[in-house]
Symmetry: C2
Subunit: 199 residues, 2 copies
DNA sequence: TGATTTTTGTACGATCCCGCACAAAAATCG
DNA sequence: CGATTTTTGTGCGGGATCGTACAAAAATCA
C-alpha cells in the first residue's frame, strides 16, 4: 500500500523511501478533511506512510507542511485556470466549465465532500496566523485575477466586478459542499449565477 | 473586569458568580477568532472568567459549549432578519442594509476581522463532525430562507435563486474579511451584487 | 573494503489539554 | 443554628501532541 516511487536518489546517503509529492498529496488530503488544527502529526505520518522525523526532515514543522500543501494546490489551480483560458470557450460554456469543474472538485473527499482547503480550513486559522492569512489572501487573489481574465475574454462589461461575484459564488459552493448540500442544488446555484452574469 | 451580573439565583445553593449569557458571548468570541479545534478550555476559562469545572457544569463539554454558541448566533441572526423583514424597505435599500450590515459584522473581532463563525470555523470541522455539519447546514438554511422572503417582498422574479446568490456573496464576504480584504473592496463587491440582482 | 553521507525508525521529554474528583464556600430551608 | 444544596476552585490523572535525539540501516565514494 506504500507509494514507493523512489525517484532520483542521486546523492550519497541512504535513498529516500517515499515520494515527496505523493506524501504531500496525502498530507494535503488529511488537512482538507480535518482542518489544520485538528490534524495531528501522527495522522499525517499514518496517512503519508512517513514517520515523523522524516516528515520534519523533508518539510519542516506542521505549519510548513500545511503551507507546502496550500502552495501545491495554488499551483494546480493556476494551471487549471490557464488551461481554461487557453481553450477560448464562448462565455456560457466557459462559465459552465468554471462552475461545474469547481463543484466536482468540491464534492471530492475521503469521508465526504471536502470543498476547497483554502476557503474552508485556512480561513479558520487566518485570524490567528498571519502566514496562513497571507496564503489565503494570495489564493483569493489568484482566483479573482484569473476569473477576471476569463471575463475579459468573454467580453462582459465589468470583468472585475463580474469576476468577484463569480469567485464569491465559488467560495460559497465550497462551503455548501462541506455542509452537505447535494450536487443538484449546487448545480442550480451555478446555473443561476451564470444567468445573472450573462444577463 | 468580571461580568458578575448575578441574575435570579433563586434556588437553594450557592449563587452563581457569573452571567451565563456573558460567558457564552466571551466563549463564542474566542471560538470565532481561533476556530473550534484551536481553542483550548484553558483559554475559554480565561476569556469567560469561569474555571473549567463550572464551564462543564453549566454547558457540558467543549463541543456542547461551541454548539450553544452557534445556537445563540443562530437566534440573533434570526431576529435580525425578522427585523429587516418587518421594516419593508424598498428593494435597493433592503439589499444595501443586508450587505452592509453583514460586512460591518464581519469586520468586528478581537484581533481583527473575524467574519461569520459558522461559515469560517464550523466549516472546518463539518466534514469530520456530523453535529457541527448539521448546525452549519441549519445556519445556511436559515440565511437562505430569510433572504428568499426578503426577495419575495422585494418582488424579484426568482426569489429563491436570487436569495441563493445573495447568500453566497455574503458567505464570501465573510471569508474575504478573514483574509484581510479591506472594507472598501467588500463594499464594492456588495454594490456589484446589488446591481446584478436588481438588473 | 572502509569511510562518509543521508534516511529511517524507535524512543523520549516536555508540554498541552480534556474532563473530573473533592473539599471548601456560600447560599436557603427547617 | 444546624442541615441541605449548589457553585467554586484547586488539583490531578490519563492521554494526546509536538518536535527531536540517537543509533541502526542503506546507499555512494575512495
Amino acid at each position: 500500500m506504500r507509494n514507493d516511487t523512489k525517484i532520483a536518489p542521486r546523492g550519497r546517503g541512504r535513498p529516500r523511501k517515499f515520494d515527496r509529492e505523493a506524501a504531500l498529496r496525502a498530507a494535503l488530503q488529511r488537512f482538507r478533511t480535518l482542518g489544520y488544527a485538528n490534524t495531528s502529526l501522527d495522522e499525517l505520518a499514518a496517512a503519508t506512510g512517513v514517520n515523523r522525523p522524516s516528515l520534519y526532515a523533508t518539510f519542516g514543522d506542521k505549519k510548513a507542511l500545511y503551507l507546502a500543501g496550500l502552495a501545491r494546490t495554488h499551483a494546480i489551480i493556476d494551471s487549471t485556470f490557464a488551461a481554461l483560458h487557453d481553450v477560448h470557450y464562448p462565455p456560457e460554456k466557459m462559465l459552465k466549465a468554471l462552475f461545474l469543474g469547481a463543484i466536482e472538485g468540491f464534492l471530492t473527499g475521503e469521508y465526504g465532500p471536502s470543498g476547497c482547503i483554502a476557503v474552508n480550513t485556512a480561513a479558520a486559522e487566518a485570524v490567528a496566523d498571519a502566514d496562513i492569512r497571507a496564503a489565503l489572501a494570495d489564493f483569493m487573489q489568484l482566483q479573482d485575477g484569473w476569473i477576471e481574465k476569463l471575463m475579459e475574454q468573454a467580453g462582459t462589461a465589468d470583468p472585475r466586478g463580474d469576476a468577484q461575484i463569480a469567485s464569491s459564488v465559488i467560495h460559497s459552493l465550497s462551503t455548501r459542499a462541506r455542509a452537505g448540500t447535494p450536487r443538484a442544488e449546487l448545480i442550480a446555484i451555478a446555473k443561476k449565477a451564470t444567468a445573472l452574469l450573462l444577463a
